[in-house]
């Protein structure tokens, strides 16, 4: 039971410290840290952040690999009233610098090599983890480990409320660069309350953090564990051997993953069969549909020893949205369709037609989400915010325009019993390996090679990845085969691995255009599937 009301992320910490200060909060490699450690070190870093001029509402960059320090950094920023911005370690310099500029990050906490590779940005202050970098792009730079050793935490001197900005979650944007979803303290806390409620998390849980912390669903293991007063085990490697070792060595009780993770885990099926994972209370999937064969295999392997399987669906703009509890997982099947279940607690999801009227059962429309996890909007992007965050069309006339709901861009239908099924996308978004990407961002990367004249990226279905990226391009000049090598190389060097197209097809003629002169993505992707 919580002792203090839960308004902010650090209220969740305060409750867990109060309940059991000596409880292990985080396991990072061979080191265990208690809730008391988390309280003390985040207090010390909070004081240092304030000392370096961080004020309420400021953005603090977290450029760290998943680590104890990354957890401390998030809580320190929260306590200082600032918003933390977790930057995906897979991003390359160009995207990292874009994010730093986009939300005006003045103070950062980062791994030394990551800070050292930045070229065109300068922080007021930077805290480095590791050896002192030769050059730090900052006015002042400090050794993070020394700061964390300080016992002189300032206590919580900043008044923070639930409507304050808590974090910005960057997701792929249609302008060719990522866009930030501004997420309030209330969104964070509600998300933790809701998820820990339906996953029934308790202090006895030992939760594996196997997803990136910059991803809403990956951050969720941290926030739910913090709320439950459970133990969070940080896992960087997702190689099958390491996953199996971690599950056993730490007696993991809960794992949340995206479809490719289960594919990796299933490579270890034989050893799981020989020695069942008896402590594993649940697994939860998000970020795409698990191939039925893998889902069946997970059931066969895990259910006999008591593991429950949850299927979840969410979008960064509203943190988490629906889930299918273990007893209902049968509703999702090749015959019945991709069932995403019902709304998470304290939330409502609806399917509406283009006119904003609720669709009848069986009728396909756009999925919209209302509830306390609806984020504040896109950072610095009013136009995109207006498009995705709209007045609730089903509100009573007297309250029309008061409450904002999220338009997901996902097409869905509802059955007679009120369960929702995803049927596709209203736009051309690509979903691969759990990452949602706009084709424009992939196209921007391709054109950036200097070799490509026009580019068209689209997703093609792939059972393991969700979708694979395929790109059709025309060349400025030169030979096709050599060019494809060059384009690939550019993508590999300048983009995160999940954004590199699996296939690059060179078109001799101009790419087909729509009546309005835009590249006709539909015709191109249909021609590809019909080959």
């Amino acid at each position: 039971m919580s002792i203090f009301p839960e308004f902010t992320l650090h209220d969740l910490l305060r409750n867990s410290v109060e309940r059991d200060p000596g409880k292990i909060a985080v396991v990072d490699g061979n080191t265990e840290y208690t809730y008391e450690d988390l309280d003390r070190q985040s207090g010390a870093l909070c004081a240092a952040l304030i000392g370096e001029g961080v004020r309420k509402g400021d953005r603090v960059g977290v450029l760290l690999e998943k680590s104890w320090e990354a957890i401390v950094a998030m809580l320190a920023a929260s306590r200082a009233g600032a918003a933390y911005v977790n930057v995906n370690p897979l991003l390359k310099v160009q995207q990292v610098e874009y994010i730093i500029r986009d939300c005006d990050i003045r103070v950062a906490i980062g791994d030394s090599p990551k800070l050292a590779e930045l070229e065109s940005v300068k922080f007021d202050a930077a805290f480095y983890k590791g050896d002192e970098p030769e050059k730090v792009p900052a006015g002042t730079s400090m050794d993070l480990s020394e700061v964390l050793r300080d016992s002189g935490g300032s206590g919580d001197v900043v008044e923070v409320s639930e409507v304050d900005l808590g974090t910005i979650l960057y997701t792929s944007g249609s302008t060719g660069m990522p866009k930030g979803v501004a997420t309030s303290q209330r969104n964070l806390v509600s998300g933790a309350q809701i998820v820990s409620t339906y996953l029934e998390n308790t202090p006895e849980d030992r939760i594996l953090s196997a997803l990136p912390l910059n991803f809403d669903a990956g951050m969720s293991q941290f926030t739910t564990s913090l709320r439950a007063g459970a133990t969070l085990v940080l896992q960087r490697s997702r190689l099958p051997g390491d996953l199996l070792k971690a599950l056993r060595r730490h007696d993991i009780t809960g794992v949340t993953g995206v479809p490719p993770l289960w594919g990796l885990l299933l490579r270890g099926a034989k050893t799981i069969e020989e020695k069942p994972l008896e402590n594993l209370r649940y697994i939860a999937n998000t970020g795409g549909r698990i191939p039925q064969a893998n889902l069946d295999e997970l059931k066969r392997l895990l259910e006999p020893s008591g593991t429950k399987i949850y299927l979840m669906y969410g979008l960064t703009e509203a943190f988490r949205s629906t889930y299918l509890p273990p007893d209902e997982v049968w509703r999702s099947s090749p015959e019945r369709g991709w069932c995403i279940g019902k709304a998470i607690p304290n939330t409502e999801v609806m399917v509406v037609d283009k006119g904003g009227c609720e669709c009848d059962p069986g009728e396909v429309g756009e999925l919209i989400h209302r509830g306390p996890t609806v984020a504040m909007g896109y950072w610095g992007n009013e136009e995109a915010t207006r498009k995705a965050y709209r007045p609730n069309p089903l509100a009573s006339p007297e309250l029309l325009g008061v409450e904002k709901v999220v338009y997901s861009g996902d097409l869905a239908r509802r059955d007679e019993e009120g369960y929702f099924y995803l049927t596709g996308r209203a736009d051309a978004m690509i979903k691969s390996q759990g990452y949602r990407m706009s084709p424009e961002e992939v196209e921007g990367l391709l054109v950036g090679s200097g070799i490509v004249d026009e580019a068209c990226a689209f997703g093609v279905p792939d059972p393991e990845m969700g979708q694979q990226i395929v790109a059709a391009v025309t060349l400025k000049n030169g030979d096709g085969k050599e060019a494809v090598r060059g384009i690939r190389q550019h993508c590999i060097e300048n983009g995160p691995p999940y954004m590199v197209p699996k296939e690059i097809l060179v078109h001799e003629e101009d790419l087909p255009k729509t009546a309005s002169g835009k590249i006709d993505r539909k015709t191109i992707s249909n021609a590809y599937s019909d080959r």
């Binding site: 490697s237 997702r238 190689l239 099958p240 051997g241 990796l264 490579r267 050893t271 590999i492 999940y498």
Partner: protein, 83 residues
């Protein structure tokens, strides 16, 4: 087939350049997994390449950070399986 560590390392470096790093030639002791250069899915692809190229088989338990830490350690794994 007996494959020396050097030969294996050269093949692995080439694969990494073609599929992961582009022009940059990775030092043999560079921490591939820890630095995030090699993702888990890419590692599985690399294993498939190794199994095909060197005619070896890599067990699931061997697919871990220790064996795939660097070009050097991966080459060592290949050599130990073909000796």
């Amino acid at each position: 087939m007996d494959i020396s560590t050097d030969n294996a390392a050269a093949e692995i470096r080439t694969w990494l350049q073609e599929n992961v790093t582009g022009d940059w030639e990775i030092p043999d002791d560079y921490p591939l997994i820890e630095s995030g250069v090699l993702t888990s899915l890419q590692t599985v692809e690399l294993v498939m390449f190794m199994e095909d190229k060197f005619g070896i088989s890599v067990e699931d338990e061997e697919l871990d950070e220790e064996n795939f830490e660097s070009v050097k350690s991966i080459a060592g794994l290949v050599a130990s399986k073909t000796a």
